[in-house]
């Protein structure tokens, strides 16, 4: 079958119903643009959260009486634990130096002795930078003989985990809603086009055109709506990112894959919605 003919017929159809075409493309553009912006926002939130999580570490304090070699054995034990990326050991002396650096006074001069316990800073693998994994790891470390205390930013982590999940759920829900709206819009346009062109459909049937051949121009139209919506949405997203970078916040992450994704999404919703419409409305005619 002649695909060129189907494409030509599909494009002719768009030309015939210019107003409906313009309205559908505009609506699909808005829906795809919103989806694109939601994804950009998600990517940026994800990046921000990732950066924050990178700085999250656990600090474990050893009993002050522990000598350096016993402490280092403990450090090695911690290193073997699941989720641990790196462990930095801080001896009593190093702790005293850190104290001096931070407070400008020598702890031994002030107190006559060094009461600071040896400790270690535990850096985590990216897979374990969440509240639950850290809580589990801390619990395990705390149970080791020679550990007096384990400290990490528990409240901050819980806050991030809770709100990020809520934000993602809201964004995902809205995105899905917009996707459905875009599909309904194209579906409706194709339904109206099928109705307006029932005469040509009837003639195609009478002359012996196959069902698939009759459907094809409508599919072309649906996909065209999606592609045009995708291109325009991409243009708006690109422009908006440039504006935000220039005038509001230069650190916005663009994620170039988004443009391919939006275009692909446009083609997908164009195809799916015209298929739904054809199955529902064209089958009544043929």
């Amino acid at each position: 079958m002649n695909l060129g003919f189907s494409i030509k017929e599909g494009l002719k159809g768009l030309k015939r119903a210019r107003m409906a075409t313009a309205i559908t493309i505009t609506s699909v553009t808005v829906a795809l643009m919103m989806i694109g912006l939601f994804i950009i926002v998600s990517v940026n939130i994800d990046h921000w959260v990732g950066e924050k999580r990178k700085n999250i570490e656990i600090e474990a304090f050893f009993e002050p009486v522990l000598n350096n070699s016993t402490a280092k054995k403990l450090v090695n034990k911690i290193r073997q634990m699941d989720g641990v990326e790196r462990v930095d050991y801080i001896s009593k002396e190093a702790a005293a130096l850190r104290f001096k650096k931070e407070f400008g006074r020598d702890v031994v001069e002030v107190l006559g002795t060094n009461p600071l316990p040896p400790s270690c800073v535990i850096h985590l693998k990216s897979t374990h930078r969440n509240a639950l994994a850290i809580a589990n790891l801390s619990h395990k470390i705390k149970k080791l003989d020679g550990i007096t205390d384990v400290v990490y930013a528990q409240g901050f982590l819980q806050l991030i985990d809770r709100y990020v999940t809520i934000i993602y759920l809201i964004i995902g829900g809205l995105g899905l809603l917009l996707l459905i709206v875009a599909i309904i819009l194209i579906h409706n346009s194709i339904r109206l086009i099928i109705y307006a062109r029932r005469e040509i459909i009837e003639i195609m049937e009478l002359v012996g055109a196959k069902k698939s051949f009759i459907r094809r121009p409508f599919l072309v139209e649906g996909i065209f709506y999606g592609i045009m919506g995708g291109i325009l949405a991409n243009a708006f997203i690109f422009a908006l990112i440039q504006i935000v970078r220039r005038w509001l916040y230069s650190g916005v992450i663009e994620a170039p894959e988004i443009y391919g994704l939006i275009l692909g999404l446009g083609v997908f919703i164009g195809f799916v919605s015209s298929q739904i419409s054809l199955n529902k409305h064209l089958n009544k005619l043929i």
Binding site: M1, E199, I203, L206, G208, A209, K211
Partner: protein, 217 residues
């Protein structure tokens, strides 16, 4: 070539055809005659399998209404030509494109389309209007375009549903002359009409139906 075996059709509660049986042979010209609502168009729809009998069977060439599958119907229709009272032309395409459309829709190659369309337009004497839109044509000219479209695929039969219903007597005769010529070339014609005077001027076999039954043959 076309056989109806005890065919009955109802639409909703209404019985349209009751126990109809007849045969149409190769190259034959026959009228289905009867008043409006008698079931003439239903018989034609059964032949191009837009409708299926509730009881009985319709055989068209190698296809049987009892066995045909949905994907085979387009192939059956490519062997038929159908013309209507209201011409059913595409208003936004010129004469040439209206006829070429029937070939394009069935996947005929472009090189063949031009040759075939030019030939059939000449056959029905409308080639000089090939670039005109249907609205620029008279009723008779529009029906000639519809006939050209019906014969462009070289069908073995033309199904004509009141083809002269919208035309004056003079133009009706022109259309009948064309149909007669096509029939002489070997294509069967089955024409639904209630125009008694036309039947008298172009006498052929008559299948007379009334209230869904064959009352005279």
């Amino acid at each position: 070539m076309i056989e109806f075996y005890n065919v009955s059709v109802s639409i909703g509660q209404k019985e349209i055809l009751r126990d109809i049986s007849f045969r149409l042979f190769k190259g034959e010209f026959a009228y289905i005659m009867g008043p409006s609502g008698a079931g003439k168009s239903t018989i034609l729809r059964l032949i191009y399998m837009d409708l299926f009998p509730e009881q009985g069977m319709v055989i068209v060439g190698n296809y049987s209404s009892a066995k045909i599958r949905a994907h085979e119907i387009p192939y059956l229709r490519r062997e038929l030509g159908v013309i209507f009272q209201d011409f059913k032309l595409l208003r936004d395409r010129n004469v040439y494109e209206n006829v070429a459309f029937a070939l394009r829709a069935t996947g005929v190659k472009n090189s063949e389309i031009k040759r075939k369309v030019v030939r059939v337009l000449s056959e029905v004497n409308i080639a000089h209007r090939r670039n005109n839109l249907p609205d620029d044509l008279s009723g008779g000219e529009q029906q000639r375009v519809a006939i050209a479209r019906a014969i462009v695929n070289d069908p073995f039969i033309i199904l004509a549903d009141e083809p002269t219903g919208n035309l004056d007597m003079h133009t009706s005769k022109e259309i009948m002359e064309i149909l007669e010529r096509i029939n002489r070339q070997g294509t069967a014609i089955l024409m639904a009409t209630h125009d008694q005077s036309l039947i008298e001027q172009y006498p052929h076999r008559i299948i007379k139906i009334d209230q869904g039954e064959i009352v005279k043959e």
